[in-house]
């Protein structure tokens, strides 16, 4: 199962991922940027949680966790009730106003690009290679996981070496 990882050691907060994501997903904002003031910056991106709060909160079952580990939203059944945006503990889901039916925007790890053997747009554009699309097991085995969020690799900003 492949997921997005962020290497906080090299994230410079340039927000290129946000622009690339917008471009590929037809001007729907699915990725934002966060900042720990004077310590670190990081992209705010869907973590595709194992027990996802948005899936549990969705009243008509349009938010689903699929077998490949990706939480996807069905455009056909989404009514835009915004329960998922309230439920998301990371503040990732936002209301994509440009979509028909006022449905919320949702990262699907660039399914259409990955099918063609490409990387998700945010990973492809990331100038420092901070965003990575990697096998979860591979990262866990390499013991690269440290602090902040489940999917953060590299040194913690708080123990950054000088």
């Amino acid at each position: 199962m492949k997921k997005l990882f962020v290497n906080l050691d090299v994230c410079i907060g340039c927000q290129a991922h946000s622009v690339a994501c917008n471009r590929v997903n037809h001007n729907v904002l699915t990725m934002q940027s966060g900042e720990v003031p004077e310590e670190a910056t990081l992209p705010v991106v869907c973590r595709h949680c194992e027990s996802a709060a948005c899936v549990n909160a969705c009243p008509n079952g349009s938010m689903k966790r699929h077998d490949d580990g990706v939480v996807r939203r069905s455009m056909a059944t989404c009514t835009g009730c915004m329960s998922c945006t309230l439920a998301c503990p990371f503040g990732v889901l936002t209301r994509g106003m440009r979509l028909a039916r006022h449905a919320s925007s949702k990262c699907d790890l660039c399914a259409s690009r990955v099918e063609r053997g490409l990387e998700p747009a945010c990973v492809a554009t990331c100038p420092t290679g901070a965003l990575q699309h990697r096998e979860v097991e591979e990262v866990y085995e390499a013991k690269e996981v440290l602090v902040i969020g489940a999917h953060t690799i590299g040194h913690s900003p708080y123990v950054r070496r000088s």
């Binding site: 090299v10 410079i12 340039c14 927000q15 622009v19 471009r23 004077e38 310590e39 554009t125 000088s162």
Partner: protein, 471 residues
């Protein structure tokens, strides 16, 4: 659908990308993972290229006073204005930094054949031409770093904020920093910024003063200076210890690089002095080093800069100004360009998309982007892959049209002719650089900063001799 490799000319790095073209229109942008240097990475601005090409507000027809005219009418209008100008010094041409080498060559030929002068220059963002002058004319004997050098650098000193100005360069810089525990990234900048967050040593405060202190500390480290002279430099600094530590690190680590992201010419000269004082195997990577335009400024019009042209417009000496691609009002916000161009008889502005300068121009010309015209960009020939919108012409074609209305045939100067040009006069270069310093440096900095720079600039002596000279 066909795929074409192209480069981004928004900044000086020239990152590579792939353009998917369908029926002569740009359909999609893809990341070029095979590129050896940038590996397909694009910054936030670079991701907007497709939007720029397909922008609904692209200019398509030439206009005179907001009314569409034909290219012939526009060219005749400009040719007449040039003919009726007071003298040959009252006409000037400014070409954008993203023009191809051929187009700038044509601009030079245009100036020589039609105007009889050399009032032509390529435009850069604020102060960049000064930085290029400061670096280009003093860098004799100093190695120009490549991205490879940055990736191998043990002790990198970043001046300014390279991560914010060119994010793609952050990749190799951070790779070098994280490659070994001994490696370090250090920053000299006025205040905290994106880059300083990753710095082992961050010298905050005045950029110039810190650079001067650093040069002083390095000279002291190498034992080339008397204690009494050196003392006021380092001891008075805010982080005297840090300055000394950084100087030691930079000296001891071979293959170190100074990454320059400042638009201050004095700081650029000090960076030159720093590298020269530190000795072998140190190099400079300047982010304000526009590959296309740097050569033109140094070869053809070393005395002309966009700022000088704006100043002469302020004094009322200019009658006609032809601006191609550049947005002077946005690029030089402190120079009162609006005021200056109001004194002109004719302002003709060409741009792909309407900007603040075209809003003031009486003749507005639609121009092409770099993927819509053939030419040499950053040293590599590229051909047009996308059809320009409507009647947009390249900078060179516009100048050719004006010249042919005046009955003159323009030819691009050949490479051999460019190369056999006489090198720039040494004393002249020093005078230009000194004039730039006098303008830029406040009195309290001048004493320390410019003395160093002067030593390296004018006398070309070794650093020990230079110190004696300053004494």
């Amino acid at each position: 659908m066909s795929q074409h490799k192209n480069i981004c000319l928004f900044c000086s790095l020239g990152c590579s990308f792939i353009l998917d073209v369908e029926r002569d229109e740009a359909a999609n942008l893809e990341y070029d993972r095979e590129h050896p240097v940038t590996k397909g990475k694009l910054c936030a601005k670079g991701n907007y290229i497709l939007e720029l090409v397909n922008h609904p507000m692209r200019l398509t027809v030439p206009k005179k006073n907001d009314k569409p005219v034909t290219w012939k009418q526009a060219a005749t209008e400009m040719a007449e204005a040039i003919r009726s100008a007071r003298d040959k010094r009252s006409v000037a041409v400014v070409v954008s930094g993203d023009a191809s080498s051929e187009d700038v060559g044509l601009a030079v030929a245009f100036a020589a054949n039609c105007l009889g002068t050399s009032t032509v220059t390529a435009s850069f963002p604020t102060n960049d031409d000064k930085v290029i002058a400061a670096l280009g004319k003093t860098s004799a004997g100093i190695k120009d770093a490549t991205p490879d050098d940055i990736e191998k650098s043990v002790c990198t000193i970043a001046v300014g904020d390279p991560f914010a100005t060119c994010p793609v360069i952050a990749g190799p810089m951070l790779a070098a920093r994280n490659a070994s525990r001994k490696n370090s990234l250090n920053v000299v900048s006025d205040e905290k910024n994106m880059t300083s967050r990753f710095a082992a040593i961050h010298l905050a405060g005045s950029e110039r003063k810190n650079m001067a202190d650093l040069v002083g500390a390095i000279i002291k480290e190498r034992g080339g200076v008397k204690e009494s002279w050196q003392k006021p430099f380092v001891e008075r600094a805010n982080g005297a210890k840090q300055v000394r530590l950084l100087a030691q690190r930079f000296l001891q680590s071979p293959e170190s690089v100074v990454v320059l992201a400042t638009s201050d010419p004095v700081t650029a000269q000090l960076a030159n002095a720093l590298v020269k004082a530190a000795g072998d195997s140190k190099s400079i990577y300047s982010l304000h080093d526009y590959g296309n335009a740097r050569g033109i400024v140094e070869l053809f019009a070393p005395d002309v800069s966009t700022e000088k042209i704006i100043e002469s417009a302020h004094r009322g000496e200019l009658d006609v100004l032809i601006v191609l691609g550049a947005d002077l009002i946005s690029s030089y916000p402190d120079m009162g360009v609006t005021n200056a161009v109001s004194k002109l008889k004719l302002l003709a502005a060409g741009a792909p998309i309407a900007n603040k300068t075209t809003a003031l121009a009486s003749i507005v010309l639609p121009t092409t982007l770099w993927m819509e015209t053939n030419g040499t960009y950053n040293g590599a020939p590229r051909r047009a892959v996308v059809a320009p919108p409507g009647g947009a012409l390249s900078y060179g074609a516009i100048l050719r049209a004006i010249a042919s209305t005046m009955g003159i045939e323009l030819h691009v100067p050949t490479l051999s002719k460019m190369l056999t040009r006489e090198p720039l006069d040494e004393s002249k270069a020093a005078a230009i650089a000194r004039a730039a310093q006098e303008e830029a440096a406040p009195p309290h900095v001048r004493s320390s900063a410019t003395r160093f720079a002067d030593g390296f600039l004018t006398d070309r002596v070794s650093w020990v001799k230079m110190v004696e000279h300053v004494h």
